[in-house]
Assembly symmetry: C2
Homo-oligomer: 294 residues x 2
């Protein structure tokens, strides 16, 4: 029997991502002990009932005692405060990570609180569903999906490699980017699509009269997919937009420009412009399928 | 054994929708004979090889001879010309329909060509996939999905009921709207989402450098769903936007307004505005799931 990567793992926050890490880590035999802590007594009770971890409490600092790996699994906006609270109980040599969809803001918020001798290695599993909370977790969430590690210039290479091995053990593919580069790429591939989906579902709801069932009933492929995306966790996504503001505003400006171009083509009946774009986007889908990410 | 609804059905165009109608009609025993015709010899050969219909030729008019039901399954922009070509060979009492995603423009384009004594009942099955062509057809495409009939003020009630029964026989749920009302609703629930998906995938491609695999690789939930929508048939969708121009431009203006509102909230850090919308859109998804359309 192989020795587990870590003796004790502590998860700060136990929602969709934290719960899935716990289940996948147990599946992979990656730790002898997995605990969690969350501010919410109700969430802790649910996590204990579902036996997601060996124990889930509400004292964040206590959970981190003797932990070899601590992963902050809260919404991005709560990472800094979590780091402040757990800092005093972190064991020297412990690896501290997170799962935030934004990286530079999380680094800026967490790093000042972390004591010397602790290895901070931010990470982002690019995986999720529209469900949230501890009941939403499942062991297969990360299988075949990418986790991006964003080590800092002074991150300990051995700690980075160990966290990399951990994510591979959870079923994930791994890669490394610098935090700012991560934030620019995700603004395009994830943050903008979510913002658009939220907007369009809201627009449709306004236009149709609140939850008008006639409109909902005829929701074709397009709209149904958008409603699923727009059902993602409100707190998590509010924090993403507030914490990746510059990159999101930049891609949003480009998107608006492109949309006005199409709007004008529709107004003037320029079918060739529409056809050319629609042909190009079809090829992009094929490239994605080729990369097995579709 | 029940008598089939129709003796002979002719499908003009045999792509995703035409092919699926043929397979579902055979599954349901809805006709003694199903033929098709398409301008493309290659498409006709494929349809014959796949045995989608009893026979597929390239002479549109010939296919319609003696048919009791003719369904034009071409892109919206080709419906008028198809009606002109088949008009002389339509049997008196025959039902003529279509499957276009836009209804008023199709009515305006087809109706002038159709002879008296023929029953014109436009319809729109709100179903599809991102694939196109005869190979994309499958018998289950319409199961549990809505088909909207848009009868004209002078449509024969018996013909409307018979087409309604036909679509139910294909597995569809059915409802009726006037053509302009249909176009307004679909502009929201289908046309706008497709336009947005096409735009965002194009914007991402431009921003990332053509088909940059780093971006594609990390394509999270949001972007992957959009690429699927943006892989839909370019000709069909060009025609939709050109033929539902007014309604699309109107909902697009509303969408732009709402997006600028969110853009401003992000710029000024107004998290509550984001959170409120994201909470509302989550409820809409739940309503859709409740309606079994998610």
């Amino acid at each position: 029997m192989t020795k587990p990567l870590f003796n004790k793992i502590a998860l700060i926050g136990i929602g969709l991502i934290g719960g899935s890490i716990a289940l996948a880590a147990r599946r992979g035999g990656l730790a002898n002990k997995i605990v969690a802590a969350t501010r919410s007594e109700e969430t802790a009770a649910t996590a204990n009932r579902l036996k997601l971890v060996d124990h889930c409490g509400t004292d964040l600092a206590a959970a981190c005692q003797d932990a070899d790996l601590v992963i902050v699994c809260t919404p991005v906006g709560a990472c800094g405060e979590a780091a402040r609270v757990i800092a005093p109980s972190l064991k020297p040599g412990c690896i501290v990570s997170d799962v935030g969809s934004v990286k530079q803001a999380v680094v800026d918020a967490m790093q000042p609180h972390l004591p010397a001798g602790v290895h901070f290695v931010p990470a982002h599993p690019v995986a999720g569903t529209e469900n949230s909370g501890p009941e939403a977790g499942f062991a297969e969430l990360f299988d075949g999906r990418w986790t991006i590690l964003t080590p800092l210039p002074d991150s300990d290479p051995a700690a980075v490699d160990k966290l990399d091995a951990f994510w591979k053990g959870l079923g994930s593919l791994t890669d490394r980017l610098d935090p700012a580069g991560h934030d620019r790429i995700l603004a395009i591939t994830s943050h903008l699509p979510h913002l658009i989906a939220y907007t369009i579902v809201g627009t449709a709801d306004d236009l149709a009269g609140h939850l008008n069932s006639e409109v909902l009933r005829f929701a074709a492929g397009g709209f149904r997919d958008f409603t699923r995306i727009a059902a993602s966790d409100p707190t998590m996504w509010r924090d993403v937009f507030l914490n990746n503001r510059e990159a999101v505003l930049e891609v949003l400006a480009r998107f608006q420009e492109d949309l006005f171009y199409l709007q004008r083509a529709i107004r003037w009946g320029e079918g060739d412009k529409l056809f050319d774009l629609f042909t190009r986007t079809r090829e992009i889908r094929r490239a994605l399928i080729h990369l097995n990410q579709a």
